[in-house]
């Protein structure tokens, strides 16, 4: 069976949806989940802690050269890009910001799409910048499955809209429906 990975990219206004998805899928989801979320690098508490406190699901910050394993949920560390290697391990990268972002959703999506191809599902959520749109397009070129938070229900519609300007996504779902869509996707 093909190896699979779910990457979720989000920026401003995405936290609520991320929390409800995590609550819905919990641990033991059949594929590894990698969260690429923009945030202020000056935040004191780690995203890992914040998500745990709000969902009681244990989230793991990506470490360099860590194997992505099904059932676990990973989050990119602040101020590093995360790339995926052929053996499904992660690499951290401190190079220039992309779309004013580090981690950048585009960077992770491109590299994950090269490795997972059709096994990759990418979900792009609410946000106020254009990061992720190009990556979504690339995921689709590589045969992956693309899902978008409906700009009409997104807190900040700009980011999902940018993706729509570039491409036709495989699925659009409202913030309310997304948790179930993601859960069902895991059991396909």
């Amino acid at each position: 069976m093909q190896d699979r990975l779910l990457v979720i990219g989000g920026s401003a206004g995405s936290l609520t949806v991320v929390l409800s998805i995590l609550k819905e899928i919990g641990l033991g989801y059949p594929l590894p989940v990698l969260l690429v979320l923009h945030r202020q690098s000056s935040f004191e508490s780690s995203l890992e802690e914040l998500l745990y406190v709000r969902t009681r699901v244990i989230i793991k910050e990506v470490e360099e050269k860590e194997m992505l394993r099904p059932g676990r949920i990973y989050v990119c560390p602040p101020d590093y890009h995360v790339l995926v290697e052929q053996d499904h391990s992660t690499s951290l990268d401190y190079s220039e910001r992309v779309n004013f972002s580090r981690p950048s959703i585009d960077v992770t999506l491109r590299s994950a799409a090269d490795v997972y191809g059709a096994g990759l599902t990418a979900l792009l959520l609410s946000g106020g910048n254009a990061d992720g749109a190009e990556g979504m397009e690339y995921v689709k070129e590589r045969g992956g499955f693309t899902i978008l938070e409906d700009p009409q229900t997104a807190e900040v519609p700009y980011m999902p809209q940018q993706a729509l300007f570039r491409m036709t996504v495989d699925r659009i779902a409202s913030a309310e429906d997304l948790p179930l869509v993601i859960r069902e996707l895991g059991h396909k």
Partner: protein, 276 residues
Amino acid sequence: MQINPIHNEELDLLLNDISTRYGYDFTEYTRASLQRRIQRLFTVDKFPSFAEFRYRLQNDSHYFRRFVEEITVNVTEMLRDPSFYHTLRTTILPILSTYPFIRIWHAGCSTGEEVYSMAILLYESGLLHKSLLYGTDINPLVIEKARKGIFPVRQMQKYSENYINAGGLKEFSEYYTANYYLAKFDSSLTARMIFSTHNLVSDYSFNEFQLILCRNVLIYFSRELQGKVFRLFDYSLENFGYLALGTKESLRFSPMADAYRQVGREKIWRKVRDAG
């Protein structure tokens, strides 16, 4: 949209060429980052095919120089991670001050911002006059920049904040003179620095140090290469010397981890015995 035009096998060919022709070995760099940057260069320089890219690299040493400049990551800032510098200032420098002479190596120093940060710390601890800071990098272009000590003035506000958060004692602006675009750091700082190219993959140890800093370099290396570089550092570090790594890097997986003890919560380790 273009699918990555350089395949893994082609990348292998390219890296082998480069290793044979120029003696730079990138084969043990982490693939995903390296691939991404080579890809970018290929696209930016508008090569029509991989074959032409490969031919140019084999036959044009000037272009190879550009290659090295572009595929190495040169992102750095002054006093990045202020809590790290705070620990250096309050915990490490007081111990180093007991030495008659202090030698510090910034391995992979890029354009030198960390070296200037350290020089400022040493100056404020009254140690700069008896310290020597070595800054090395694989990329000759960044070493030239580091020697000049001139940085964009628009960065200074951020650096000044870092400086205050790291426990700075003065006005940060006392350390440079600025015009509209550029800030030149005081030559009394530069006077205690030595910059040189050095390749961590292939070059040898060149001195013994009480403190080696290598931050956000090892994340680009395979575990095997990391191990090799740790041995190089161990060989270059005096007993009871310190090794400082980036926020997401660790000595944990190194065979010599047992010979080192971590200092508090920062990514600083002290060599407590010979790793052998």
